[in-house]
């Protein structure tokens, strides 16, 4: 009996230790073996002989959409789906951040100094339900958005309309929407000419139209399937009772909607009457897989042929696998260390400079981004026009920091409250804690005494930063569209508690520059203004940007023709399964 007991203890220990050892060796084994896909039902590589045309591609995002009504969506996963089915008047060239091309509008007349824009629509474009795209349809859509009432006016419902145009035809102070609107009217002067009038000139109107939220939907479907119907329940939550956004999203895009089983899959198929170059794939099936590791494994087994939001640490695994590939997006975000300039000692420019010299940004970029990021010199990525190459730069120099602190009349170590978020991973900041630890360590060498603070990302951390409660903090931003206004305009044009600019007015010159640039009609002059703003921002230092990252996608090796876009404005129409 005693031997029996001993045996089981020993056996158990061996098993446990073996398990641990197995784990370590299996981690490295994972990187060198190809997935066993032989008996997986491989989605057909095409019906035709050359294997290029046709086929079904299964793609995984973190989740599917909340609604397929473009006017009511504002998240990237929804945009991915909408992009296949709908089109806007004006778009962005594939892969570019800011090169505008006409999509539903072949051309347009109107300068940033104008308030009237004339859109010449493409002829012969049909919606998926067979109705024609004409100027009346375009105006129907714009007027629908402008006339939203009730809970449609809440910023959580119509985020992009409010960002670009502001208010609606009726103002409701409780709704959260602004009172004034950039939009005045839309007129169909003939069947292929739509005239949109604004209340004042805007340099961001045309670029902003490339947003998925401003896609043109079929008026027939919008009306027939009750897109504006719904009731507000006792909790104040709007519940759409129409089926437009759930079963009948009708657009003009290269794919048309087939079916949506919530939590399981969303299926689109090629639209054979598309006005442009028809898609090659027969079908694209989107499935939601929230867990990052699960997405990677599904790619390795062949259950999916592509997925988004690849974790930096998974990239070597994918690259070493000959059957898989990584596709990079051009960087379109910025990670920064923000300052609240109204909290001493950050109101002293020398202290802020000392902080800038005390941050080892290169170290963080090299260590925690899987080799997929670059050090940020300013608050917007290089691909956006208005980027200035000649901004003041601050390479890591702890001695200089200490010197500056002494010049400011302070004795090192200077106490700083440094905040970072938990429970979150952002494309520009995959692991906030590690970024924090490295940056804090470098600051401690530079004459600072760091008191660490953290809070869960949403809503605590974001709430606190909005309220201006954080002295020094990690944050970032992913661009919506390729315009400097979307980066430095969003951060610095108006006084905000987050930066302390509501109390500290050192940034006033920048605010003036940005306001001027927003209304500047001459594009060349506008770019100059933004460049000057960037120089001034990096002199005044309301914060220190440290990284631009390139979130990556992963596909099986046979997927060709996917054009990555900085704004995730990516169509499957050009994809083939080779």
């Amino acid at each position: 009996m005693r031997t029996g007991r001993w045996l089981s203890v020993v056996g158990l220990s061996i098993l446990v230790l073996a398990g641990c050892g197995q784990l370590q060796s299996s981690e490295s084994a994972a990187q060198s073996t190809a997935p066993a896909v032989s008996d997986r039902p491989a989605p057909s590589a095409g019906a035709s002989a050359d294997g290029e045309r046709g086929g079904t591609l299964v793609f995984a995002g973190a989740r599917l959409a909340a609604s397929l009504d473009p006017a009511l969506t504002s998240d990237r996963e929804s945009f991915r789906l909408l992009r296949q089915v709908y089109e806007p008047l004006v778009g962005v060239a594939p892969g570019s951040a800011n090169e505008l091309v006409g999509v539903l509008a072949e051309s347009w007349d109107g300068q940033p100094s104008d308030t009237t824009y004339v859109f010449h629509l493409r002829e012969g474009v049909k919606f998926h339900d067979g109705t024609d795209l004409d100027a009346a349809a375009v105006c129907f859509n714009f007027d629908r958005w402008y006339n939203f009432k009730g809970s449609f006016q809440n910023p959580s419902a119509t985020y992009y309309w409010q960002v670009v145009f502001g208010g609606f035809s009726t103002f409701n102070p409780d709704s959260g929407a602004p009172e004034e609107s950039l939009y005045e009217s839309c007129e169909a002067s003939d069947s292929s000419t739509a005239v949109i009038t604004l209340t004042k000139p805007s340099a961001t109107f045309i670029p902003a139209l490339s947003q998925q939220a401003f896609s043109i939907a079929s008026p027939k479907a919008l009306q027939e399937f009750g897109a504006d119907e719904g009731s507000v329940d006792a909790d104040g939550i709007f519940h759409p009772t129409g089926t437009f956004g759930t079963e009948h999203p009708v657009g003009t895009g290269p794919f048309q909607f087939v079916s949506w089983t919530r939590g399981d899959r969303l299926v689109v198929e090629r639209f054979d009457d598309y006005w442009g170059e028809k898609a090659s794939l027969d079908q694209v099936i989107f499935r939601p897989i929230a867990d990052n590791a699960a997405r990677l494994q599904a790619l390795q087994t062949g259950e999916i042929q592509g997925y988004d939001l690849v974790e930096p640490q998974d990239i070597p695994t994918i690259q070493e696998n000959g059957d898989l590939q990584v596709i990079d997006r051009p960087p379109f975000n910025v990670a920064y260390v923000g300052f609240n300039m109204s909290m001493p000692p950050l109101d002293d420019p020398k202290v802020r400079q000392a902080l800038a010299y005390g941050l080892d940004r290169q170290g963080v970029v090299d260590s925690f981004y899987g080799g997929r990021a670059e050090v940020a010199k300013e608050f917007m990525p290089p691909s956006v026009e208005g980027y200035a190459d000649d901004v003041p730069e601050y390479t890591y120099d702890p001695e200089k920091s200490k010197q500056l602190l002494q010049e400011a009349g302070l004795t090192p170590p200077v106490k700083i409250d440094f905040w970072y978020p938990t429970d979150v991973s952002r494309p520009y900041m995959p692991d906030p804690k590690r970024n924090f630890e490295a940056l804090a360590a470098s600051l401690e060498k530079a004459g600072f005494a760091i008191t660490p603070h953290s809070a869960p990302w949403s809503p605590d951390y974001l709430g606190k930063s909005d309220e201006g409660q954080l002295q020094v903090y990690l944050l970032g931003w992913t661009g919506d569209y390729g315009d400097a206004d979307n980066f430095i305009g969003t951060f610095f044009q108006s006084p905000q508690k987050q930066w302390g600019t509501d109390k500290n007015d050192e940034m006033k010159p920048v605010q003036d520059l940005l306001a001027q640039a927003e209304e500047e009609p001459d594009q060349a002059k506008r770019i100059e203004l933004y460049q000057e703003a960037n120089r001034q921002i990096m002199t005044i230092l309301p914060g220190v940007p440290y990284a631009h990252s390139s979130p990556a996608l992963a596909f099986t090796a046979n997927v060709q023709g996917y054009a990555p876009s900085p704004t995730t404005n990516e169509s499957f129409a050009t994809v083939t399964l080779g």
Binding site: P155, S156, V232, A234, G263, A290
Partner: protein
């Protein structure tokens, strides 16, 4: 018997009231609310305030609770703040997935656990006994999440025998009248779909059932050991009954009583363990539904979902209690 059932059903009411108060207060104690979660990085204090006002979250808590009770009384569970679909509908859509998974896991735990425990007891202190102890300990100590990843890595990625995510291959199309995918496949007479759904259930069922398996094996073992030494077993043996007959009719049947209780308690474990399993396997059941809801501070979904689960757990335990009468005539007759 009927009075027993009615009394137990009436007990549901205070239980549900208690659960609803707890959930209601607890989720509001969590920092933040649906407004900030919905708006995310793009939240401005004004936007958050406007949304909270719309949701009535700026009212005093007793006013909010009063409204909530009023809604419940009319069986109004509200709408999800993220998908804007009715909570009851979403629950109905997602619940079958978790039920199928829980059943598969429970089934796995029973058909492996009971024999394992039985033979461990029969060959007390033998090799089987010690092996089953080791397996049980591994089962109980390995976190489900971790076990799931290992199973997926070995059987899906490396060997390619089984799929790694979802309930069914996206390339197979079958109508879903019941949303129980196995049942739907049978109704559609689609053998390929049935096999596919079964394959998708295997790994999650093993991961989820690993802890109940361990517990059932140990309890069976202890219970059988206990019963084996009872007088009536010796009597049966003395009467000359075949050993197998003794085992089934006397030993196992009496040993089942504590196991029945355990099974009832396991339901709660299965439903909560489903949360982790569903996340790793991208299984669209109520576990992943609730996790997403908590992250998004989706009050209606959390309140509704937890309430529904409480009802189910109570019902299952009621059924377990009723099953005692069936398993053990002594209890039945003593009424």
């Amino acid at each position: 018997m009927l009075r027993f059932v009615v009394r137990r059903l009436l007990l549901l009411i205070p239980i549900l009231i208690g659960v609803s108060i707890l959930v209601f207060l607890w989720i509001r104690a969590l920092p933040g609310g649906p407004a900030a979660a919905l708006l995310g990085e793009r939240a401005t204090p004004e936007a958050v305030a406007a949304l909270e006002h719309q949701y009535g979250l700026d009212q005093p808590i007793y006013v909010q609770y009063g409204k909530y009770v009023e809604q419940l009384a009319t069986l109004e569970f509200g709408n999800s703040s993220t998908s804007r679909q009715p909570v009851a509908t979403e629950f109905r859509q997602r619940f079958p997935a978790t039920i199928e998974l829980a059943f598969a896991a429970g089934f796995f735990a029973l058909i492996v656990g009971i024999p394992l425990g039985f033979f461990a007891a029969k060959r007390y202190q033998g090799v089987v006994d010690h092996t089953s102890l080791v397996i049980s300990l591994i089962g109980i100590s390995t976190p489900i999440f971790f076990l799931a990843l290992i199973l997926k890595y070995v059987f899906a990625v490396q060997l390619g025998w089984l799929p790694s995510v979802g309930r069914m291959s996206v390339l197979i199309d079958v109508p879903h009248p019941t949303n129980f995918y196995l049942l739907d496949a049978i109704l559609a007479r689609n053998w390929e779909a049935f096999v596919d759904v079964s394959k998708h259930l295997i790994l999650p069922a093993i991961a989820l059932g690993s802890i109940p398996l361990a517990i059932i094996a140990r309890i069976t073992r202890a219970s059988v050991l206990d019963v084996q030494n009872e007088d009536y077993v010796r009597t049966a043996q003395a009467k000359g009954l075949a050993p197998r007959s003794v085992d089934f009719s006397h030993v196992l049947r009496n040993a089942m009583l504590p196991i029945a209780t355990i099974i009832g308690l396991q339901v709660g474990l299965l439903l909560s363990g489903a949360v982790l399993t569903e996340t790793v396997f991208a299984f669209p059941g109520i576990g992943s539904w609730l996790v997403d809801a908590i992250k998004a501070r989706n009050y209606p979904v959390i309140q509704g979902g937890v309430l529904f689960i409480a009802i189910i757990v109570v019902f299952v335990n009621l059924l377990v209690d009723l099953s005692y009468g069936f398993l053990n005539p002594r209890i039945r007759l003593s009424k």
